[in-house]
Subunit: 378 residues, 2 copies
């Protein structure tokens, strides 16, 4: 017998059994009072988490689709878009904008570092006609948390539209859609919301609707206006994934029960504990403390031990799955996800197993040093 | 205690317990060998059902999204599109094409009737520059099955691209994507494939790729080329709904076990049995026998009994849900869905309960005449 596979990747993340149970209830009719009530409740809760005073919509699609919707609903061909890029997902936003005919400028950070606020100010003051700025709150490919509040403030002062990918930060660390003056924010189901992949969510400000009114990009399934109109009748414009909306209700109830200062503190604690353990084993962290993600930790393997060896051994010996680096960082780092239904004991387990597989591969460190360092840090 | 709600609507349809069980297994990592193997297997089976020799892709999105993908991947603004419209879903295809800047012509049938092949020939010979024709195989809003083979043949002879919505016909009645020379065909998970809503599927011909190469419509999440490229590595370009793909595998295994002449015969039998029972009760069918859908039956209520009364009573007294008409047909017909995991006993139950609620509402007919007529017809 083997242990159940444990997902310590940056999504999909572990799904609680009550959520799985809600999902596997027989699907309800989507044009029913029961579903309408469910939809209204989950949207209310999603907005509470986002601290959003305006609109929120549920898409039956992956997070990338919600990113595309943010572009399709706001720009017209030829519009100037600035994409802030600290990794693969920041770059994806730029590619989507280009697919819609935007003239895209890129402001890139070094891999493993966040966007510089000064560089952003400089860029915006030099390029006066930027209409939309795309921002990645938490860059999944590197494990960097950008300073969204400061970035949004600069974008707002400049008058551009602030469009944010919060896929791997939403419900895991503080953010305030309305107070921070974010205009569109997107997230997905398979991260801190503890569902399987299949739903995504968008939050839309009043200012974003002004851009929507002028946008000439074609859209139908992603058209915010269709979702807003349907929501006046407590429904969706197209057949939604009713099963996942039911699961989402259960997940949101669990989230509300834990409560928000606690959930944010838990994620911060997971990150700190993991980082302390990794450093204790003598490994190198890819991202500095001051901008380390609360949900994803990137680790540089010891010399002479490949990322592939570590990942394969963790999977085969302990049924724990961690992620490789992506693109330029492939085989250079491995990434441990710790968002959603993850607890201190899971971090300690992962550290213990990581130490074991490193030792199997010939690495030397004092026995138990990973877990020991983690425990000392708590 | 109340009986479990029984969905006799045109989707979502009843989901078999083994499919629900597969869905509520803990989600697997999407970049894993296990998921890749699953994906390759379901695509192979989906193509077998479609009799498709070319490409098939899985989208994490509703059926409408797949319809939009068919347009976004083939047309450029200004292209002439002919939409064959026998109801709400035919009209939706036209609206999507218009959202993408197409110059859309409409060929409409009367509600409750199919597209005339002669009218199609006339239209195509008059308008020489039509590039794409959209077709609804089975019109869900009326319960009419169009003669897809004949329609596709005419479109092919004319040289246009044949784009088909087979959402409520796929896996329920014979169709042959490659032999009939269909170019793009879309379907969804929550119909005869017996899953909840959340996945959709597209089939793509070689000719469609030629149109794709010339299309200037913006697309990213829906871009067929990204799905084709990822499939060369047995994966998807964006995080898919892994849980539903696992459920789909189970559903496809059940479908393969029943086998295809049998499944088509079962649906045909359900339709005939239901129609015989409805006529036996003295009600009027909205669609003539010769083009009646194998999966959806539209019924005109007796005078003085409203659609609302029938639907409410079936729901409250028997926990059976049937659908209203849509748009122009709202409150004029009710629709009974019978696709996927539906059997003769379900039709007999529905007829018996329909007779009971009609009698409660003051309708007179000999006791048991609905079920009796159905049984005599078998």
């Amino acid at each position: 017998m083997q242990a159940k596979e444990f997902l310590m990747i940056p999504g999909p993340t572990p799904v609680p059994d009550p959520v799985l149970a809600a999902i596997c209830e027989h699907p309800m009719a989507h044009r029913s009072k029961e579903f309408s009530q469910l939809l209204v409740e989950v949207i209310k809760d999603l907005k509470t988490i986002a601290e959003c005073d305006t609109d929120a919509f549920v898409f039956t699609a992956s997070g990338t689709a919600a990113m595309e919707a943010a572009i399709a609903n706001t720009i017209s061909p030829g519009d100037k878009v600035l994409s802030l890029i600290s990794g693969v997902f920041g770059a994806r936003f730029a590619k989507i904008a280009e697919a819609y005919g935007a003239s895209v400028e890129r402001l890139e950070s070094k891999l493993g570092e966040p966007i510089s606020i000064d560089a952003l100010k400089k860029k915006l003051s030099e390029s006066k006609d930027i209409k939309v700025v795309t921002v990645t709150h938490n860059e999944t490919s590197t494990g960097v948390l950008n300073d969204l509040q400061a970035i949004a403030q600069v974008i707002h002062e400049y008058g551009a539209l602030c469009v944010v990918d919060a896929v791997t930060s939403y419900a895991a660390c503080p953010l305030s859609f309305s107070k921070w003056k974010i205009d569109i924010m997107v997230t997905g189901s398979q991260k801190a919301l503890m569902l399987p992949p299949g739903l995504s969510f968008v939050f839309v400000s009043e200012k974003a609707w002004q851009f929507h009114a002028k946008s000439k990009s074609p859209k139908f399934y992603f058209d915010f206006a269709r979702y807003r109109k349907s929501l006046t009748e407590d429904t969706t414009p197209f057949t939604p994934n009713v099963s996942f909306v039911a699961g989402l209700k259960t997940a949101l109830d669990m989230i509300k029960k834990e409560g928000f200062p606690m959930i944010y503190a838990r994620h911060e604690n997971l990150q700190k504990t993991l980082r302390a353990g990794v450093l204790g084993m003598g490994l190198k962290l890819f991202v500095k403390d001051q901008y380390a993600s609360p949900t994803i930790t990137s680790i540089v393997p010891p010399e002479a031990i490949s990322v592939n060896t570590i990942r394969q051994s963790l999977k085969e010996k302990y049924q724990i799955r961690v992620a490789d680096g992506q693109e330029e960082l492939k085989s250079k780092i491995f990434r441990i996800g710790h968002m959603g239904y993850i607890f201190e004991r899971d971090i300690l387990m992962t550290l213990a197993c990581l130490e074991a597989v490193l030792k199997d591969a010939g690495y030397h460190c004092p026995s138990g040093i990973g877990v020991g360092s983690a425990l000392s840090s708590i």
